[in-house]
């Protein structure tokens, strides 16, 4: 059986964690190759400090940013190990339009589906579907699986 690639969009939120675990529990097939895709947004530099930022401070911010990503990577790696996912990869890409990048990435790797949680780290909580999930579901040419938090 040829290996099929599944892309799961992660961002460190509880929703993404839950979606990851749920996918592993109920949808993963042993022959699948799982790629955990993390979209980095720009560095969180406070606007009022941007111009007066010292090099050391900037380095500190970069370092923290990378540490966060490493922690996230380790978190998902341990999950993958727990579920005995043989073919697993973590990718972190920088882009301001996560929805667009997720769709393109999935197409490029020939994924059979994109797995996502309903919401991420976004602040607006009124909608059921976060902005990125919403974008991906409506625009992706690849099948998309949305896994809500309420799923038991």
């Amino acid at each position: 059986m040829s290996s099929k690639t599944v892309v799961i969009a992660v961002d460190g939120s509880k929703n993404a964690d839950h979606a990851f675990e749920k996918y592993c529990e109920i949808m993963h097939l042993r022959s699948n190759k799982l790629i955990a895709l993390h979209i980095e947004d720009q560095l969180a530099i406070p606007a009022d400090q941007a111009l007066t930022l010292s090099e050391s401070h900037y380095e500190k911010i970069c370092k923290e940013h990378n540490e966060d990503i490493e922690a996230l990577k380790a978190n998902y790696r341990s999950k993958a190990q727990r579920y005995h996912i043989e073919k697993y990869e973590f990718r972190s890409l920088l882009n301001r339009e996560p929805g667009v990048l997720i769709c393109e990435f999935a197409e490029n790797v020939g994924a059979i589906q994109i797995v996502m949680g309903t919401r991420g780290l976004g602040l607006i909580r009124r909608t059921v579907l976060g902005s990125v999930s919403d974008y991906v579901v409506t625009h992706a040419k690849t099948p998309v699986t949305i896994i809500p938090m309420a799923a038991n």
Binding site: M27, L29, I112, L129, T138, H139, P143, T145, P148, A150
Partner: protein
């Protein structure tokens, strides 16, 4: 003493006999009424003509040991691709597939255009017959697909009294479904949104993983 006793007993007997009689008559009438109404109800429900009027649910016994996957379908090609996609990429041996179709509520005309009588019986009959025919075609199509792909599953349908989306969610709850697969668009005519209204509803309300297969 004996004559008095006899009199009273016979009087009592006379008093009791009408009561007994009335009691038996009432009981028999009640039983007959019950049997008749039960018979009428059974006849009503089993009559194929009436089945299309009321909300009938084909209740099949679902296997307990297998996990249930629901594939929501309509007559569109998108639904066929959703089924194939599931089979090709997600199917596991322990799956039991429920191919589910929710019949849309149909508008029935209130006025007859052909006959002078007020009740548009002919129009209704025609509409309902077409509906039943389409349903049978769909059922056959997916039963063939299930057989050809050697998939353990069943075709189930239910009438949506109001909307299709809630009916699908309801079915998932009733049948203890693990996840849902559906096309992004069905046979609906509105093309303004990228995601069809039913898929959109199910995605937001099912509280289950939903896989949406784009057109």
């Amino acid at each position: 003493m004996s004559s008095q006793g006899m009199n009273t007993t016979s009087e009592e007997q006379l008093q009791n006999r009408p009561n007994c009689l009335m009691w038996t008559i009432t009981a028999t009438t009640a039983t007959i009424c019950c049997l008749l109404s039960a018979g009428l109800i059974a006849a009503f429900l089993s009559n194929k003509k009436f089945q299309t009027f009321i909300n009938t649910k084909i209740s099949t016994k679902l296997p307990e040991d297998k996990r249930k996957i629901l594939i929501a379908v309509d007559s569109s090609e998108n639904s066929e691709r959703a089924f194939l996609w599931y089979k090709k990429n997600l199917a596991k041996d322990e799956d039991y597939v429920i191919v589910f179709h929710a019949l849309e509520p149909i508008p029935l005309p209130s006025v007859s255009l052909t006959s002078s009588t007020a009740f548009p019986g002919d129009e209704w009959q025609k509409i309902l017959n077409t509906r039943t025919e389409n349903l049978r075609e769909l059922e056959k199509k997916y039963e063939v697909k299930l057989a050809n792909t050697k998939t353990n599953g069943v075709f189930v349908y239910n009438e949506a009294l109001k909307e299709v989306g809630p009916t699908i969610c309801e079915e998932c709850k009733d049948s203890d479904v693990v996840y849902i697969v559906m096309g992004s668009r069905g046979t609906g005519t509105t093309r303004s949104t990228a995601l069809g209204s039913v898929s959109d509803y199910v995605l937001r309300h099912a509280n289950l993983p939903v896989s949406v297969i784009p057109k």
